[in-house]
Symmetry: C2
DNA sequence: ATAACGAGGATAAGGAATGTCCGCGTTTAA
DNA sequence: TTAAACGCGGACATTCCTTATCCTCGTTAT
């Protein structure tokens, strides 16, 4: 049981897109190069983010990706949800129904409610942090110089 | 990202062991039959529960498994931990270190603290429910007859 | 028209979870 | 003392999800 690495990659990708000036876009290949991710697979992750409405895409020459919301309105959970989907961490396999020989309709699980609650607690923490709050952390003193270098890279690679 | 089915199976296995009288044990094969789980693989799960100190095993003829703690002292989290291990749900792949070209020693991740906290919240819910509280739920009115039948099955299959 | 980009399907490759097999040590019972 | 029933534990095979690659298509700027 482990979170996909695509979630972490996506968060940093969105942080890169957050460095773009208005109207500018960043090609998918540039992003995947910077993240040292496999280009073709990473495009799939980007499209999941598009489907989820987190980022937007522009086709054609000089196309690419950009944010589709304000950075304050994108939570880590939004990105998690885009990549991992709605499937819950736990789902009963109906063992209790077998044990107690219940009819299928009244199949039941002693753990479902508890696990549901646990998952809500987990997700609620992820909803607290936003792209904008993460960007602030990246601008802390100790990272400042490196972050500025990254921003310059974005300036070079962006189009339009 | 999904919880192993072994966790659910193990919870119900421990609930079965909870129906044993003192000093009695239940053979692993009987348990796996009742849970409709693959016998050899399920033995591996039982051994994980033994290693974790949740249950105890008795070798030899008339051997089997029994609880190693009081039902009130076994939480769902204990069983989760025994099966899934200590590996956390999220672990950074060090992308930020690459992005900012940090030295390896100062490698850093904007998400680790948040995810850690989320996981703590998640686990804390699992720590609330115990085998004894689950057993109570199984004795609710609507399950009472079926649960009694299950207890009789345990009486038949147990040894010593 | 062509080249650069995203969209999306089909399909491998890898790795973790699950499942199987076999030999071992221990204990009970004949 | 032998044999059978059980747990122990390692070495596999299988299955499934994630990751990765490839190829074709539609769109847009030059």
């Amino acid at each position: 049981m482990h979170m996909k690495t695509g979630v972490e990659q996506s968060v940093y990708a969105v942080l890169l897109l957050n460095m773009l000036p208005d109207k500018a876009v960043l090609p998918g290949e540039a992003i995947s190069q910077q993240l040292k991710a496999s280009p073709t697979y990473f495009q799939k992750l980007l499209r999941k983010l598009v489907s989820a409405g987190v980022i937007a895409s522009v086709p054609g020459v000089k196309g690419g990706f950009k944010l589709n919301k304000r950075a304050e309105d994108i939570t880590v959970y939004d990105i998690y949800l885009a990549i991992e989907g709605r499937q819950s961490l736990y789902s009963s396999s109906g063992i209790l129904g077998d044990l107690l020989e219940l009819e299928k309709e009244e199949s039941c699980c002693l753990l479902t409610d508890l696990m549901e609650e646990a998952e809500v607690a987990w997700k609620s923490v992820m909803k607290r942090e936003t792209i904008s709050s993460l960007a602030e952390k990246m601008n802390e003193q100790r990272f400042l110089l490196k972050t500025e270098a990254l921003q310059q890279w974005v300036q070079r690679k962006m189009v339009a």
